[in-house]
Structures are given as structure tokens and as C-alpha cells.
């Protein structure tokens, strides 16, 4: 076959870009890998450009269904296939929460299931919160830490996760709620920096109209932020965001955004 012939017009160095992009046919791939071991130039080119190729991968994140992880773990490790039930999911999430220790404080004593209808009825409402100002105990939740974004994305991967966009004048924010794991989180991008001494402050609005702090965050230099909220979903009716002093236990200004359900 022609596969054994050498094409004199093709310099093997030429194949390095095709190699990086997986754009070689089998014949070319064989030739290139034979060549690569002895060629500093191509090795260097791969080292220089492989991160750029990896950047191409990062243009579209989509959280896969939990079943992929379950099948993967089962095929590799055999034992302990998590059943696709709510209780199993909750258990898995609690394990995961414990593995990241103090960052999330799961209320494992109080598991409950969000009524599906209520979860489905989540709607966006902007500027609705007029009931703020009632007394409520302090709930310090200063949770900004490395890995928060991943934790929120993990939360979003929960089978029952619901997401709600918050209407902001500038930037975007999405609240993620998973009833099965009793967790909520916020992901935000393109937020303007808050004034000195202030932060974005998330508040839980409870069904009796009271308000408690669910944590505060400052966006990074890109304007991005992620936060796992410190909140109990059972008696929550929504969340609101203010820009204020993070040590406040009650809001003193009108919310810049809110979601309600």
C-alpha cells in the first residue's frame, strides 16, 4: 500500500500543528510520532502550543448528566454503583460536601425534598423585596475561597438543580438551587467592583418576611465571582442582593436584584 511510501514533498516538521489538533490521518500520525522522539523543534512546538489547544477546549462547558459519572465509577471500580434516586444523590453530595470540609456547612440533620412544583415555579423578579428590615439573627457567611466556582458548578450538576438569572443593571448573576442537597450558590460575571469597604451581599428572604445574610463576595479582577450560599432552603422564599458592608446583619439599602419563588 501507499502507506509505506515516503512522500518527498512532506517535511515531518510540517505535521506538528496537525498533530496538536488531531488532524493527521493514521499514516501521517505514524510518521510524525516516529519523528517526534528525535526532534527538539517539534517537542518544543508541542510544549509551546498545547496549552493554546487546551484553551480551545474551554469555549463550551456543559455539565454532563450524573449517570456518566456513575457508569464511569462502576466500570472502573465495580462496587458501589450509586442508584439514581434522590436519596443516593443526597448522600453523594453530602460526602462531597464533607470532603471539602468547612467551606460548605451542610445541614445533614435536616434533609428534605423540595416540592417539584415549587421548584418548577421559580421565576425571576427584580426589585421585589420590600419586606426587608425585620429582625433576624446574624448569619455570617464569608465563603469566598478557591474552588467556589467548581462547587457551584458541581451543585448545578445535581439532577434537581434549578437555575435562575438575576436581573442586574451591569453584569450577570445566576442563582443555582438544589433542593435535594439543600444547597444554593451564585455565579456571576462582569460585575463592577463594589465601592471600597463594601461587597455584594446575598440575603435569604424567609417565608415569615425576615431576612438573613447568606454570604458576601467581591468579584475578581475579571468581574467574576462564585459563592456557595449559607442558607436553609426549607423556609426560604427567595434571595436578594445588595451592595453594602459585609459585616451587616440586616440590609440597609434597597436590593440591586432579587429572585423569588
Amino acid at each position: 500500500m501507499t502507506n509505506q511510501e515516503i512522500d518527498p514533498t512532506t517535511d515531518p516538521h510540517d505535521l506538528v500543528t496537525g498533530y496538536l489538533l488531531d488532524a493527521l490521518d493514521q499514516h501521517e500520525l505514524q510518521r510524525f510520532t516516529d519523528h517526534l522522539g528525535d526532534c527538539d523543534y517539534c517537542q518544543q512546538a508541542i510544549a509551546d502550543l498545547s496549552e493554546t489547544v487546551a484553551d480551545l477546549a474551554g469555549t463550551s462547558r456543559v455539565v454532563p448528566p450524573q449517570s456518566v459519572e456513575d457508569k464511569l465509577m462502576a466500570s472502573l471500580f465495580g462496587d458501589e454503583v450509586p442508584a439514581p434516586s434522590t436519596s443516593a444523590d443526597t448522600t453523594a453530595a453530602v460526602e462531597q460536601g464533607e470532603s471539602v470540609g468547612e467551606i460548605i456547612q451542610l445541614d445533614s440533620r435536616r434533609r428534605w425534598v423540595w416540592p417539584a412544583a415549587a421548584a418548577a415555579a421559580f421565576v425571576l423578579l427584580a426589585g421585589l423585596v420590600t419586606t426587608m428590615g425585620l429582625n433576624q439573627s446574624n448569619n455570617e457567611a464569608q465563603l469566598l475561597a478557591d474552588g467556589q466556582a467548581q462547587l457551584v458548578l458541581d451543585l448545578a450538576a445535581s439532577p434537581d438543580a434549578q437555575s435562575m438569572k438575576m436581573n442586574l443593571a451591569e453584569g450577570e448573576a445566576t442563582v443555582v438551587v438544589s433542593a435535594a442537597t439543600n444547597q444554593a450558590g451564585v455565579l456571576a460575571t462582569d460585575l463592577p467592583a463594589p465601592p471600597t469597604g463594601q461587597k455584594y451581599h446575598v440575603w435569604t428572604i424567609k417565608d415569615d418576611g425576615s431576612v438573613t445574610s447568606a454570604g458576601s463576595f467581591a468579584p475578581d479582577s475579571d468581574g467574576s465571582a462564585a459563592l456557595i450560599l449559607q442558607t436553609q432552603l426549607a423556609d426560604a422564599t427567595g434571595f436578594a442582593v445588595t451592595v453594602d458592608d459585609p459585616s451587616l446583619t440586616q440590609p440597609t439599602s434597597a436590593p440591586i436584584a432579587a429572585v423569588n419563588f
Binding site: 456543559v62 470532603s99 471539602v100 468547612e102 443555582v176 460575571t189
Partner: protein, 193 residues
């Protein structure tokens, strides 16, 4: 089970590099963390190449199986954990798309046009990712023919030879175009880094 997730060593989140080293030592919990860290990017990539959820999920599972079995090959000096894993994912996805293509009549797959990216709530969330936008703006700096060539290679899984045929250009031109596109992209990413 061999390795339960430990609650004791949770003080510091280990880096992806460290997690892959732990995978090489047989640490299942580390592997689960690696999966959760990179599965959304990996699945997004597989979906783009394969444009079919079932195939993409198969590719994802194959790729992470390879990550587990070949974790000892990972060399943090040569590549980041993300680059190493995405290389595996991309290769698996491209292998599959070529197998699928072989099963159908030639020409039909590539002409199939854009399919809808799954657009559920979760996909919307992940599109908020800032990194995503940084890459997009770097891609916008490429010339249209560079972007097209890169898309045919990286996203459609075409070989350089197929690209040359598709675009009706000499093979050498296709190679040069891809090389220039990747170099330009690298420069742009460095500018915005």
C-alpha cells in the same frame, strides 16, 4: 471500597496536578475529584465534536477511563492537567467522529450543518464562564479563513487532507493556515492573559 473520601485531609484543596499524581497511586477519591473538576469542559468539547449526547457521553467515559489508567504518564512539567486531559478527550471524540463518518456515506457528515448545542439551564450557567469569553475574543482576532480551518480541524475532526479537499486548496496551504491560526490564537491569548 478501597478509598472512601476522607474528611480529614480537606484543609486544602489539592491542585489538579496533585490529584492526577494521586490517581496514579490508585486514589479513587482523587479520580472522582478530577472528574468533577474537568468533566464539564470535557463534555462540552465532546459535544462540540460529536454533536450527539449519547456519543459524547461515551467518549467522555472512554476518555476518563484513559485518564485513570494512564495517570502515571502525566508529566506536569510538559503540560497542565487540563491540557493533558483535554488532549485525551479530544482524541477520543475525533476517533469516534471518524468512525461514525466511516459508517455513513462520505460527505454527508461534514455537510450536516450546525446542530443545536443543548441549551438547558445548566448549559446557560456554564456559559457565564469568563474563560469562555476570553477564548472567544481571542478567536475573534483570527481571520475568517483561519477560524474556518481551525473549526474544521478541531471541532469537526477533519484531517488536514480533508480540509484541503473541502476548501479546495493545496495541502500545504491548509497546513500553513492551521499553523498560522494556532500561532495567532496563542498570541491573542497571551495578550489577554
Amino acid at each position: 471500597m478501597q478509598s472512601e473520601i476522607s474528611t480529614d485531609e480537606a484543609e486544602v484543596d489539592p491542585s489538579a496536578d496533585q490529584l492526577l499524581a494521586s490517581c496514579a497511586a490508585g486514589d479513587r477519591a482523587a479520580f472522582q475529584k478530577v472528574y468533577r473538576m474537568f468533566s464539564a469542559t470535557a463534555y462540552g468539547l465532546a459535544l462540540r465534536v460529536l454533536r450527539d449526547e449519547e456519543l459524547a457521553q461515551d467518549a467522555l467515559q472512554e476518555a476518563f477511563t484513559q485518564v485513570w489508567t494512564e495517570a502515571s504518564r502525566f508529566d506536569p512539567v510538559r503540560a497542565s492537567a487540563k491540557a493533558w486531559i483535554m488532549t485525551i478527550v479530544h482524541r477520543r471524540a475525533v476517533d469516534r467522529v471518524r468512525r461514525e463518518e466511516a459508517d455513513r456515506r462520505r460527505g454527508q457528515v461534514w455537510g450536516a450543518g450546525q446542530i443545536e448545542t443543548p441549551h438547558d439551564s445548566v448549559a446557560e450557567i456554564v456559559e457565564l464562564n469568563a474563560e469562555h469569553r476570553r477564548v472567544r475574543s481571542a478567536l475573534a482576532a483570527l481571520s475568517p479563513i483561519q477560524r474556518q480551518a481551525l473549526d474544521l480541524a478541531y471541532t469537526r475532526g477533519m484531517t488536514q487532507t480533508q480540509i484541503a479537499q473541502q476548501l479546495d486548496i493545496p495541502l500545504g496551504t491548509a497546513k500553513t493556515r492551521l499553523r498560522d491560526a494556532l500561532q495567532r490564537l496563542r498570541q491573542e491569548m497571551e495578550v489577554t492573559a
